[in-house]
Structures are given as C-alpha cells and as structure tokens.
C-alpha cells in the first residue's frame, strides 16, 4: 500500500485502467503533450499515443458531445475540463443529450467528465467554482466528489465502469496537499455509499470534497467538548440518505457543509430530506454552513470570507450543541 497524493492517486488509477481496458481514452484541452493543466495525464500520451490521449481543440461542447458518441459506440471516454468552471460550455450536451438518452431511447451513455474544481488559491470567479449542485438537479447524471486519495481511485474506477454519464469533481486544493495510503490493487467504491470520516455522538456533519478537511479540523478543535460525526458523502448523485438518516437518528442534530454557494445548493436537498425522513429525530433545525451567494472573489481576504472556514464550522456546531 503506497502513500500518494490525491492527484497521483487519480493519475495512477486512470493510467492503470487505460492499460487494463482498451476502450478507455482521454480527451481534453492540453491533456496530451502538456499532460493537462494540473499534470494528471502527464506522460500518458507517450504511453498510449495521440489517439487515446487526445489534445482537443478549445471546444467543450464537441468534447463532451464527442464522448457521448464514442461511448455509444462502445468506448469509455474520460474527458477532462481544464477547470470545472468551463463545464458551463457543455451544459446543454450534458443535460439534454447525455442525461436523457437512456430514459428516452434506452441508450446507455458511459462517459466520465473530470472536473478540477474548488477554490483556495485566488483563482477568481472562473477558476474556483464548485458547480456540482446545478448538475445534481438533473436526472440522469451521476456525481462524485472524492475527498481522499483512496476514494479518488475507487470512485474514478466506478465512474469509468458506470453505464451512465458521471461528473467526477476533483478538488484542486487537495491535489498536492493531501497525501494518504492507496491500496495497490484495483478496486471500486460504489456510488451512493458515504464514508464515516469520523465517528461521533452529538452532532452529524454532512459534507464532501475539500470541506471534509475543514470539518475534520473543526471537530478536532471541539474534541472533548462535542463529539462530531463527520459523514463524507463521496457521491452526491446518488447520495447515501440511509447513512445520513441513521446518524441523525443517533445524534438528533445535523450540520450540512459545502463549498458551493448556498441558495438552492445541494445542502438544501439534504436538509429537505432530513426534514422529510427524520423530523421526529431532530432536536434542532439542521444548520447550513456554505459559501455566500456571490461569485468566488479573487482577493485573498474576500476569498477567505467566501470559503467556509474552520471557525464558521466550529461556530455552527456550537450553536447546534447549545440549541
């Protein structure tokens, strides 16, 4: 079992799968010679050649639509958006074609779109977004947001195996900051199964992606004072309602944390579901800690204000404890 960065785990998993399965190919802007803006596919083109590691023109629609066509012809395309923000240029292909083709025509569309997402390094309004909530509303799409290197590997392989279109969000802020053990053998992690990141009895904290670490830090600060159960959803479409509801049944209090903006964000869906399914269990209203409803600001003080901070989570947890 080797220790790898989050980025390395993704890169190695993808390379191994391409060695194992000839149907898998990579396409995106600068993924070949350059190895991708974040070097996830570094040296892939040397190994797999220009037709399995394809440097595409600046054409998100043709990239995603092209993957859809290739997938229908039996390939397993893995597209890379240079930044998750640019997926907005392929919105129509995803929601109109890929997401609806199976319900309408019974045609599976096994594509994966890799989306380097998230803020924390002054990327500004167009290189820092977490657009997962917008897609979580679209029936037909699946969405993964791994937080750990091991999950990054297992979820990527599940995404490639999955017969449906999968949006795979990889958080840029975790790429090189997070190192952890990754099993060497091939394994998949099923979609819709959350990971209990930390066990606890007093409050349930539901989150995913980079916020898992913010949550963890907050829980550590409250150790002794408050016992926090952190649930890392890992995938938000589908998402693991059962695990969340079981935890809430135990703790009677919950906080939802996400880096995306608040209004009509996916946190609202989790809260709505907890209310529907666990109202009687609740000793306090479920709390939200999220980014405010603005674009992601560029200047460090503004971005810090925008991104949920450990203090914000600690404060939210304390409020709940005292409720």
């Amino acid at each position: 079992m080797a220790v790898k960065t989050y980025l390395q785990a993704i890169s190695d998993a993808l390379r191994d799968e391409m060695r194992r399965d000839k149907r898998v190919f990579v396409i995106g802007e600068d993924v070949g010679v350059y190895g991708g803006a974040f070097k996830v596919t570094k040296d892939f083109q040397q190994e797999f050649g220009p037709w399995r590691v394809i440097d595409a023109p600046l054409s998100e629609t043709a990239i995603v639509g092209g993957c859809t066509g290739a997938a229908i012809m039996g390939m397993r395309p893995v597209a890379e958006m240079q930044f998750a923000d640019f997926i907005s240029c392929a919105w129509d292909q995803l929601v109109t074609v890929a997401a609806k083709q199976h319900y309408r025509a019974g045609t599976p569309v096994p594509i994966v779109v890799r989306l380097p997402s998230g803020g924390g390094f002054s990327g500004g309004p167009f290189h820092s977004q977490n657009p997962e909530s917008s897609f979580a509303h679209i029936p037909g799409l699946k969405i993964a947001c791994p937080a750990t290197p091991a999950d990054a590997k297992g979820l990527l392989l599940s995404a490639i195996e999955d017969p449906n279109p999968v949006l795979y969000f990889e958080h840029k802020h975790l790429y090189r900051r997070i190192k952890d053990e990754v099993p060497d053998e091939r394994y998949t992690i099923p979609f819709g199964e959350a990971r209990i990141h930390r066990e606890g009895d007093d409050v349930t904290l539901v989150t995913w992606g980079a916020m898992v670490y913010t949550a963890d830090e907050a829980a550590k600060q409250l150790e002794g004072e408050l016992s926090v159960e952190i649930i890392d959803l890992r995938t938000i479409a589908p998402w693991d309602r059962e695990t969340v509801l079981e935890s809430v049944a135990k703790t009677s209090k919950a906080l939802v944390l996400h880096e995306d903006t608040q209004t009509a964000g996916f946190g609202a869906e989790i809260m709505a579901t907890i209310m529907e399914e666990a109202f009687e269990d609740l000793d306090a209203p479920v709390k939200r800690v999220t980014a405010p409803d603005t674009p992601v600001p560029f200047a460090p003080p503004l971005e810090k204000w925008f991104l949920p901070q450990v203090e914000d989570v600690v404060a939210g947890l304390k409020d709940l404890a005292e409720y």
């Binding site: 639509g65 092209g66 859809t68 390939m75 129509d92 292909q93 309408r104 019974g106 599976p108 017969p163």
Partner: protein
Amino acid sequence: MAIAREAEPVSSIKETKEAGLDREDLLGIYRNLILTRGIEERGHILYKQGKIPGSFYTGRGNEAAAVGVATAMRPEDVGTPLHRDMGVHVVRGVEPWRMFAQFMGRVDGPTRGRDGNVHMADDRLGLIAMVSHLPAMLPVAVGAALAFRIRDEKRVAIGWFGEGASARGDTHESMNMAGVRRLPVVFICDNNQWAYSTPTHLEFACETIADRAQAYGFDGVVVDGTDVLAVYREAKRAIEKAREGGGPTLIECLTLRMEGHAVHDDAFYVPKEMFEEWAKRDPLERFRTWLRDNADFTDEEEGEISEQVKKLLNDAIRKADESPLPEPEGEVDAVYATPEELETPHHK
C-alpha cells in the same frame, strides 16, 4: 464566390450501374421513397384523427435526400437522422408499425411512449435517437466517428442538420473537430430553405452552407435534394472517401420544406410561387419519371409497389393501434442504465 462543388444530376442508368445500383436497388429506392412519404401522410391523418398527442412533423420534400443518403450507408455505418429524415429510418429497416406506435405514444414505440415524434431510433439499425435541441446530435456523430478512428475501424458516421441549425455553435465545434482530426464523418445539411418561419438570408450570409466546409479543411458539395440518385452518388462518394481515411465531407441537399414547420403551421410566410415551383420537382415524381425513362419502369411494377406499401401501412397502423398506451412503471429506474445493459457486442 461559390466554393463548394455543385453536383450534376444523374442522367443515365449506366451511371447508376457505376454507382453500384442494379435495377432491384432502384426499385427498392422507389419503394422506400413511397413508404417514407406514406408513413408521414398516414401519420398526418392519424394526427388529425386525434390519435397522435402533441405535435407532428413531416419531411415532405426531403424524402429523396434522406433515402439517397441512407442508401449509400453500409450496415456498419451509423447516423443521427433528424425530424425530416424519416427516409433514413425506413432504409435502415425500421418496422413501420413501431414508427406509428411511436407517434401515438404506445408501449411498442421504440421509446415506449417516453418520447414522441421521430425522437427515436433503433440502435440495432445503427441509428442514434435525436434530441429536439438542434443540432446537438452533430457532436455525437463526430464522437462516433472518433471511436471508429481510435479503433481503426472502416466505419463512417453520418450527422444530419438543417440549414437553420447551421447557425448554432454545435455545428461549428463538430465540423472543426472533425476537420482537425480528419474523422470518418459525413455531414448532411437538409437545406429546405426555411427554419420554421425564418428564410435562409436571415440564417446565414454566405452563398451556400456547403461553402463552409473549406473553413474546416474539407470538401463541400451542393446537391439537388430532390434528385435521389444524385444524392446517393454524392453520399456514396463522401462516405467511401471517409471510410478510406479521406476525412469529412459536407453535403448540402437543397430542397423545399413542402409543408408547414409542423402540423399547426400553415406556412403563410412561404411565397406561393415557391411551393408551386418546387412542387414541379417532387422527389417521388421525379424518380418515378426517371425510372420510366431510364429503367422501363412499368405500370404493373408501380402498382405492385404501391399496393405492397399500402398494405404494409394498413397492417402497421392496425398493429400499432393495438399497442397499449404505457403505464408508468419503473419510470424512475429507467432514467439510469444498468451494468447489464453494457453486455452488448459493441460495449464488450
């Protein structure tokens, strides 16, 4: 300055022989033209009888373009036909009764009532079901061609779009990527001179859509979309060229949408003279005359074919009408594919 080549009409039977069509094939083409129009005419009647929910579209005037191109495809080729391309489904072998079931939203329609109109396809026939958003299927066709290229298969993808849809970004991104990678794809523009009520001079400012091919590094051809043999010849050329690694071709089939945009539209905005002029060039009439003049097409043969087709349609409508409307069952589950569904030959 026109850039695209203007395809000449097909004159003699000799030419069609060279193009690989024997007399049987020619009669088959005729039958497919008749059947294509028949399905749409009957559909129109069914709509008026209140048996078809929603709206209804026909490809009247476009039959030759659709049949001509589809006839030039090989079984292993794939395509993304649109709402004027019933002829493609017919040539590829869709069962008419399933088509009617589709129109009527019955369980035996290829989408089992989940979608309507020609928003369907039988993927076992190498066709991919269209979406309404135009021309969102072009990138998909290009992707199919990309798969063929990656696997070094000698297969070709055909992508259809209307001259109106040529204005959308999808058209551009698709052709640009196909041109850059010289993919085995043929783009077919059904230029029926109207996008709903919008005339061509408000859709594009170049002479022909085919002229745009050069902007993507491949050839463009304008062909008379009412001449099924000329369409066939040009499509054959382009498809085989693509198969041999010659890259994409853009074929513009010029015709006129002979009815309104859909059943509700009386096309008041189309000049009468335009309809009259193009009525003289009815694709079916043209080909029938051609067959008489060049292939001693007899009244008996013609009668036989129209009888066959009529019976086929009557039976099809009867059978389709026996198909029940769908009950909601497993609708939510049907949104996502299951792993088992990938256990198909081309997903292995």
